[in-house]
């Protein structure tokens, strides 16, 4: 429809790629990300179920709160919640036509995500120094597997946002709506990553 779609590549136009289909009220990408998140729910759902099964079958389950760093993890929780707010602000500003502010908020989101990973790294380092590794027991195995998989999701989010804040932002000048949609989709994903942590934190650190 715009210069972008016809530029360089002889691409055909996919209906409802940017604007919602009237009867569903969704554009393609938004429906796609919700479906993807449904599959993510099943992925983490299976892992949380495994946690329940292994814990209920265990005679002496280690309690995370006796040795894990709760203050740091609490701080991390608030950092991720803050990043979820900033990603909404980024999208809202783009909707209002303010690319500059939008990019600033995307950058803050990335900074929060990086800070989260640094804190996580400090925790991991501490565990290894104390001699706790995935093979120690099933609690530690689950701790490293779940937080590791969550960490991979955080890294994935950083890569996506870094692209949109950097080279991907060029699209703003050719197809503003599509660019804004992309931030919305990435934001939905980011909320999910946040939500997973909100379940992980009590499961591993408090219960």
């Amino acid at each position: 429809m715009d210069a972008h779609a016809h530029a360089a590549e002889h691409e055909i136009e996919i209906p409802h790629a940017v604007y919602p289909r009237p009867d569903t009220g969704l554009y393609n990408g938004k429906l796609g990300i919700w479906l993807f998140l449904a599959s993510e729910v099943m992925l983490f759902g299976a892992l949380f179920s495994s946690y329940i099964l292994l814990r209920t079958g265990s005679m002496n389950w280690p309690r995370g709160y006796t040795f894990l760093n709760i203050p740091l993890a609490t701080a991390n929780t608030f950092i991720l919640i803050a990043s979820s707010v900033t990603v909404v602000l980024a999208w809202a500003n783009l909707r209002l036509g303010n690319l500059k502010l939008g990019r600033i908020f995307i950058t803050i989101t990335i900074a929060c995500a990086l800070l989260f990973l640094v804190n996580k790294g400090i925790e991991y380092h501490h565990e290894f120094v104390e001699g706790r590794s995935p093979s120690t027991n099933n609690f530690m195995a689950l701790y490293f597997t779940l937080t590791g998989l969550h960490g991979l999701h955080v890294i994935g989010g950083i890569v996506v946002f870094a692209y949109f804040a950097g080279p991907g932002a060029k699209m703003w000048h050719t197809d503003r709506n599509r660019y804004t949609n992309r931030i919305e989709i990435a934001g939905l994903y980011w909320h999910f990553v946040d939500l997973v942590w909100i379940f992980l934190f009590p499961t591993l650190y408090l219960l």
Binding site: I12, I14, P15, H16, T24, G32, L43, L47, S135, N138
Partner: protein, 632 residues
């Protein structure tokens, strides 16, 4: 930019049909010239390797999956030699190398490897990619009147996750200690302590799962968002419904297997013990792991995928059969609404039957009773579907062409497969039949003369669509009758063996069982000969396939006189990227054959407007333009 802009572009297409056609033609010529200027090599890669056109991706999937199908079959051919004549030396076995078959005699561990990889390759690399990746990709956008899938690049990515996944699986044969050997189910603790090949298997699976997830998101969005104007839910061809439900199964059932795969990978690489119980003794020594794990956890996670997976294997096949039966009986499918309802209910129920694979694990009678009940319930929609397809034949003037022969054979074959499943779904009878050749016979009847016959039916049916050429009918009939007889020769004796108690994983085919020795000795050579005969009867197909692509006679656009959009509204093969010269407007349901309100031909295409010029071959575009003028 206001939202109405895109709509207007859409409308312009409708109102200026002929101008649009010219424009398209001009763009196509321009594109060709550009491609010539850009240099041959780049355009070749863009067009044939990293293509984003759903049709080419479908062909890529199809060709790769057929190669894997043949490869998976050939592994079984070697196993059948060993089963038919245990301990004999076969010169062909020497291709496995000295480490697996010294002197042409297959070793037990090599037999296990062939068995594990036969299952894995057939399910994850052959049938699913063929049924969903190839047929779904090629046909769904065409059938719903879409220019492509909703996310063409994601579509390309899913093929390019599938292929590396397959290559990793193949490469695992070269791993130290050979490839995976714990069966396609990879049950721990054996799989946890197996050789390196199992790690490769897990990595390959993660690629394949990613591919399926990307594909399923794409299919669902495409079917919900890209249906052409007038293509309401109850006007979708049954095939599209089948693909829609299948995609939901892939989307929601695969992630738990991915989780299981990650946990097993952790067990093998990071030495965790998710699936390793305390105090496990291996080869006389206690395993040095933390313990406390649960091998049953794997089984639950695995079957949470693998039971829906069964329906992933069968639903697209049923969709194909539905299309072919309606077309070749020249009448509407019987009970379209019941079919749609049944397929949706089947999809839902398939998530709550998984533990009927685990009756023998000691889960307890309450859980067994629950899963036995749900299993009996899920047989109802299957019976509805099969009955509706069977009733569709009633009163039709049946054309016995090659696709229809395969479709007709599907019905009794799937019937046998389905009905023999009932005793397995009941906990009491399953105690006797569990893990015997009866199970092998049951699911192979569903998947081999069931799904694979449906795949062949689909290939023969849509071949003129995809290539614009005809296939040879005589060679097709040789292929059909030979395969039909031979495949029953393989699987029918399995029921007798299983009832006699022959276990499914025996290296010598059951000769070591005193009570089963006679039946094993009497049937195994015959079954093995049947397997090789089946292989021989695939030669006419392979010959026919390539010969027809190269030298086949040109087929008219709507070769089978079908009503659905992929045949009626575009050329064969369809226009380049974009599919339709003008996106058709759908007027009616998918199976208006022999309609009393239309007497010019015995088929009334979905987009044809009565009174407009007749829908001749490739004339779909004209009709669509006529619709546009009418509406104006």
């Amino acid at each position: 930019m206001a939202p109405k802009r895109q709509l207007r572009v859409g409308k312009e297409w409708m109102y200026a049909g002929d101008a649009e056609k010219l424009l398209r033609e001009a763009m196509r010529i321009q594109e060709e010239e550009d491609a010539r200027h850009e240099g041959h090599k780049q355009s070749f890669i863009r067009k044939y390797v990293f293509s984003i056109d759903h049709k080419w991706i479908g062909i890529q999937y199809g060709f790769t999956a057929l190669c894997f199908l043949l490869f998976g079959f050939s592994l079984m051919l070697l196993m059948r030699l060993q089963l038919g004549w245990p301990g004999h030396s076969f010169s062909i076995m020497k291709i496995l190398g000295e480490s697996r078959a010294p002197g042409g005699i297959l070793l037990p561990e090599a037999y296990n490897q062939l068995g594990a990889m036969h299952g894995t390759i057939m399910v994850f690399l052959a049938i699913v990619p063929l049924a969903v990746g190839a047929f779904g990709n090629y046909l769904v956008p065409l059938m719903i009147g879409a220019p492509d899938m909703a996310f063409p690049r994601l579509n390309m990515a899913s093929y390019w996750c599938y292929l590396p996944g397959g290559l990793v699986m193949l490469a695992s044969f070269a791993a130290t200690g050979g490839t995976a050997q714990s069966g396609w189910t990879s049950y721990p603790p054996l799989s946890d302590i197996a050789t390196e090949g199992q790690t490769w298997w897990l990595i390959g699976m993660i690629f394949l799962i990613t591919s399926s997830l990307l594909g399923s998101v794409n299919f669902i969005v495409t079917i919900i968002q890209l249906r052409a104007k007038g293509m309401t839910w109850m006007r979708l061809p049954f095939f599209v419904w089948a693909q829609f439900v299948t995609s939901f199964l892939l989307l929601l059932a695969f992630p738990p297997l991915e989780a299981a795969g990650i946990l097993q990978l952790m067990d093998r690489v990071a030495h965790t013990s998710f699936f390793l119980p305390s105090g496990l003794v291996v080869s006389g020594t206690k395993l040095a792991v933390a313990g406390g794990g649960n091998p049953l956890l794997w089984q639950h996670l695995f079957w949470f995928l693998a039971h829906p997976e069964v329906y992933v294997l069968i639903l697209p096949a049923m969709g194909i059969i539905g299309e072919i039966i309606a077309n070749n009986t020249r009448k509407p499918l019987w009970g379209y609404k019941s079919l749609v309802g049944a397929v949706g209910f089947l999809g839902f129920m398939s998530f709550v039957v998984w533990a009927h694979h685990m009756f023998m694990t000691g889960m307890g009678t309450v859980i067994s009773a629950f899963f036995q009940t749900t299993t009996m319930i899920i047989s109802i929609p299957s019976v509805i579907i099969l009955t509706a397809l069977l009733m569709s034949l009633w009163g039709g003037s049946i054309r016995f062409n090659v696709p229809m022969l395969f479709a007709l054979a599907f019905l009794p074959m799937f019937g046998i497969g389905g009905l023999t499943g009932l005793p397995l779904g009941l906990a009491a009878t399953d105690i006797h039949l569990h893990d015997t050749y009866y199970v092998i016979g049951h699911f192979h009847y569903v998947v081999a003369p069931g799904t694979i016959f449906a795949m062949f039916a689909g290939i023969y049916y849509w071949f003129p669509k995809i290539t614009g050429k005809k296939m040879n009918e005589f060679l097709g009939k040789v292929h059909f009758w030979g395969s039909f007889v031979a495949i029953n020769g393989i699987f029918m004796p399995m029921f007798a063996q299983g009832l006699a108690g022959v276990s499914r994983r025996l290296y010598d085919g059951g000769l070591q069982y005193h009570h089963a020795k006679e039946i094993a000795a009497a049937t195994n050579p015959f079954m093995s000969i049947s397997a090789w005969t089946l292989f021989a009867f695939q030669m006419p197909f392979i010959l026919n396939f390539f010969w027809s692509i190269a030298f086949g006679k040109k087929a008219e656009a709507n070769f089978w006189h079908a009503t659905t959009l992929e045949w009626a509204a575009t050329t064969s093969p369809p226009l380049g990227h974009g599919n339709f010269a003008v996106i058709p407007v759908v007027q009616r349901g998918p199976y208006e054959y022999s309609s009393p309100e239309y007497t010019e031909t015995d088929y009334l295409p979905q987009h044809h407007v009565i009174g407009a010029p007749p829908a001749t071959a490739g004339g779909g575009m004209l009709t669509a333009a006529a619709v546009a003028q009418r509406e104006a």
